[in-house]
Amino acid sequence: MSGNMNLTLKVWRQKNDKTRGKFITYQANGISPDMSFLEMLDVVNEGLVRKGEDPIHFDHDCREGICGMCSLHINGRPHGPKQGTTTCQLHMRSFHDGQTIVIEPWRAAAFPVIKDLAVDRTAFDRIQQAGGYVNVNTGGVPDANGIPIPKVVADEAFESATCIGCGACVAACKNASAMLFVSAKISQYALLPQGQTERYSRAQAMVAQMDTEGFGSCTNTGACEAECPVGIKLTNIARMNREYLTAKLFKEEEAH
């Protein structure tokens, strides 16, 4: 079933990280309002392939809003015009017939473009590798109910843990800061009893890696929170700053 929306797309095309990119204009005709944004791009790509033109490359996988692989800056906003949603869950009914849509990759020095709209977000992985875990081996752990956690604490930790690692916070930030992402992980462990033993070394290691990756600083604008598809709160950043400051003032053993 095709639809009746006709759109003009201005899409960032870039062969690889060594070449300069530019905007190319495409017409997307007969688009149904029931299509997701990525399905609209699928339709455009099928048309390109039929004409023998290289399809527009973009990252995507689950198309359910949970894997965090899809990205796209749509008309200047990460994940498009709707609040609290990823690009894969954005539908064409959020646009109108005749509209021009500008589609860009995440723009950040720490997220180099791989091709077209796909960027390299492995900096996020490296930050997690620096300390985003509890040092515990498989086996030899206490019974799950041996670690009671007040429900309010568990719920708050869960709110931080829902971050999908998409990078919209970085893309939204004028400084390309990764503070919201990093603080969400630090908060999850800072809140839970399991995370206490390495609380401060973790904060230092992750922040150091964040800086090494070349993300910018936080100037408390709040664009990250406004654009986060899963509603990660700015209070995480406040908590991270406190963790980091405490870590700098005291050694791990003195801080507890």
Binding site: D34, R63, D120, Q128, Y133, V136, V141, A144, K151, Q188
Partner: protein, 643 residues
Amino acid sequence: MLDSKVPAGPLAEKWSKHKFNLKLVNPANKRKYTIIVVGTGLAGSSAAASLAELGYNVKAFCYQDSPRRAHSIAAQGGINAAKNYQNDGDSVFRLFYDTIKGGDYRAREANVHRLAEVSVNIIDQCVAQGVPFAREYGGLLDNRSFGGAQVSRTFYARGQTGQQLLLGAYSALNRQINNGKVKMYNRHEMLDLVTIDGHARGIITRNMVTGAIESHEGHAVLLCTGGYGNVFFLSTNAMGCNVTAAWRAHKRGAFFGNPCYTQIHPTCIPVTGDHQSKLTLMSESLRNDGRVWVPKTVELAQKLRKGELKISDIKEADRDYYLERKYPSFGNLVPRDVASRNAKEVVDEGRGVGASGIAVFLDFEDAIKRLGEDAVRAKYGNLFDMYYQITDENPYKQPMRIYPAVHYTMGGLWVDYNLMTTVPGLYALGECNFSDHGANRLGASALMQGLADGYFVIPYTVGDYLAGLGFDPVDKNHPNFEKTRKQVEDNVHKLLSLKGSKTVDDIHKKLGHIMWEYCGMARNEAGLIKAKGLIQALKKEFWSDVTVLGENEEMNQSLEKAGRVADFLELGELMVDDALNRRESCGGHFREESQTDEGEAKRDDENFRYVAAWEYQGEDQPETLHKEALEFENVKLTQRSYK
């Protein structure tokens, strides 16, 4: 003859005894071994982390841009464990029994019992890692009942259990990457298995950014590559989910077990048009309060579809609540396979709803009257919002439209009790093996199996194999590495030389239609034979008339897709062969020729109480069937009934 290597002795003692009998690798010697792990979902991440903790060197691979994005992340409902925290009569044996029965007596007893045994350790492990499970006000873990189980044994983290468990396993993996014990390869796709003297000794991968086709050597290879539901084109799987790693291993000698067993989940958002790229699951829990119905007559359904009637114009007496009518004791809560087949039946009769006519109603009007809109919102708010967002219809005001969709594949690479395939040194874990769910998987059991295999089974069993190998490093100059790499390269260039008139998606969609029509919710001999011919013709069409653009030395999503669809075409034919061979109905496999007088699935235990394991014989050759007889010493085989 297939040897499942199930140890002797009483069921409950098999695993403990087996663990003692398995050979160990001395801690100082573990660092002399390298293990390759393909896929970083629950099974892969947990295996890679646990093996690295033990001291092995691990190379881990995933096709996504980060290991955290594997499709385990999308699991909603929860994870089962026989903790009996609720004091409601659960036990290891009960979880074992429910899983065997739910699988319609087509799973191996010993594997399932082990799964139930280690389920309790999984929860402990995840909590220790900081996985934020749902909790009671007293601070202890909360449970819910799921998938029709009579006990509450499901642990959950809102509707995002898979995400939280995967992020837990990913954190353990990250820790080992940081320790230098795991070398992680993101955006790499496994394209072949390298065998030397019949043993798995490495893999060939394509770097999806640069196109480099590379060999990686290891003493053992673990495939943790998930299911093959995307053979149907439309499924609830992620877009990238594929069978390629498993299929290429199959072509190198790993038998494929029960390929026709697929799970079709009853409550998904229906297809709206040809543009549709994937289907979205709506949690099974909705059937607790929603009532499933269609109009009683074809005429009314037609008028509704054309918009001549509104839903509210259909009087109560003209609505057919067919599940409640046919299954008075279970009603809307019948198991997944039964609910799915009945939806298909009423749609096939012409009584379907929605513009396409391929949907049924899931109606909350009575629940809203009984409980109030606020109570319904508190229970299902996020699901209702998701439905509203996707369909633009308000489910508080009008019934949801739902239809079944492919969700999970129980079939997969055949493995023995040690999770080793028929290729020595090649293992299969999680959804990509066939072992634990028989012909139908119960809700909240997939996460359990993935983590059981990765955290608690493979760390023991792989050591037994390695201990018998000696300490020599794998000879990476062995000619088989270059030979296999060259074959992969040739295949890539063959794909890139295709310059026909069809897109890869054109062929994939056609394959999906064939599989769905003839090898989906109901199968019969005539249809399956027809499907086989259609798939063979489609395969020819693919290799003669498809177009694959671009070059290898770049990110090339056309090429990636083409390779995967080429493998799906071959797998599709094997699924049809397997479905043809299995002239009985069991679980998700419904052969129309084998049903009870009431139209329910009828097993044939005398002739089909076995695992069908298929051996590849070469291009376009029929595969050879091997059988593993299933022995049931601890449960009594019964006919499932939900009347």
